[in-house]
Symmetry: C2
């Protein structure tokens, strides 16, 4: 499970770097960065701030339920880029503190994420809900910035080598 979790750490680092680029873009254009944070791809989709918060939430939820831990509640109160970057950093720290042994038997653990009716195999939940949901918010955050003209490209999403360990 440790290897699976590297993708959360890696992509959360990516999100943090994308927010740096968003800030640089706003400063270069003398625009308030909050204009990007409230941007969205459709009127009834969540804005950038919420996409970042939900990427953090979905990673936190996945590792917590698969380790059989209580799910920590981080209130979604961030309103600025530094606050969002701090939220991401705290999420990375939370995820990185888990050890392989914390997930012993996770594949077959019966998990019942909050709001779901019923319990599911850990492996099914992880690969078919937790991971797709995490990337939904991560990629949508990238897409919002891209759509708003922030000068980022695919390599900013894919990230640099070497791979994390």
């Amino acid at each position: 499970m440790y290897a699976q979790i590297t993708q959360f750490r890696k992509m959360l680092q990516t999100l943090s770097r994308l927010l740096d680029k968003a800030r640089a873009h706003s400063e270069a254009d003398r625009l308030p960065p909050e204009g990007l944070l409230t941007s969205r791809l459709a009127a009834d989709m969540l804005p950038l701030t919420s996409q970042v918060q939900m990427a953090c939430e979905t990673a936190t939820l996945a590792v917590s339920v698969l380790a059989g831990r209580a799910i920590p509640q981080f209130p979604n109160t961030e309103r600025t880029i530094p606050e969002l970057k701090d939220r991401i950093a705290r999420t990375i720290d939370y995820v990185a503190a888990f050890k392989e042994s914390d997930f012993s038997g996770w594949e077959d653990r019966r998990v019942a994420p909050p709001g779901w009716s019923g319990a599911f195999r850990g492996e099914d939940y992880f690969y078919q809900h937790g991971v797709p949901n995490f990337y939904f918010h991560t990629v949508t955050a990238y897409a919002i910035l891209r759509h708003k003209g922030v000068r980022i490209g695919k390599m900013d999403y894919i990230g640099q080598l070497p791979f994390l360990r």
Copy 2:
């Protein structure tokens, strides 16, 4: 590895269903569906057709290199929704034909994806490149449709229970 691959099958099925909704949307509005297929989120991003093709390519590439197989080449010639749905169906068939035993030792297999310099551990490549890249194209396809006003929502992305086996 079989469990990891269910996410490709599941999300490719999702993409196919999203294309059904795109076609229904176009028909309801008496618009040619090709208008959606050439839509993009930014002038220098790839359009919907390419996002679907690349979701298929990244899934095909990941399972092939991790199983030590030659990478099949599917030319990116699709121009219509039925052609894209057929491409997706062929990709699902390709992915689903692999057995757990085909991936024996995949975590430590040295893989050298085409275009990369150097070889990498299979597990690092999969979780930190193959999977993020697959979701990049899958979520961007969803985002394009959402941005263009197709009546889809988050549950169309997350998909239905039961989980695939």
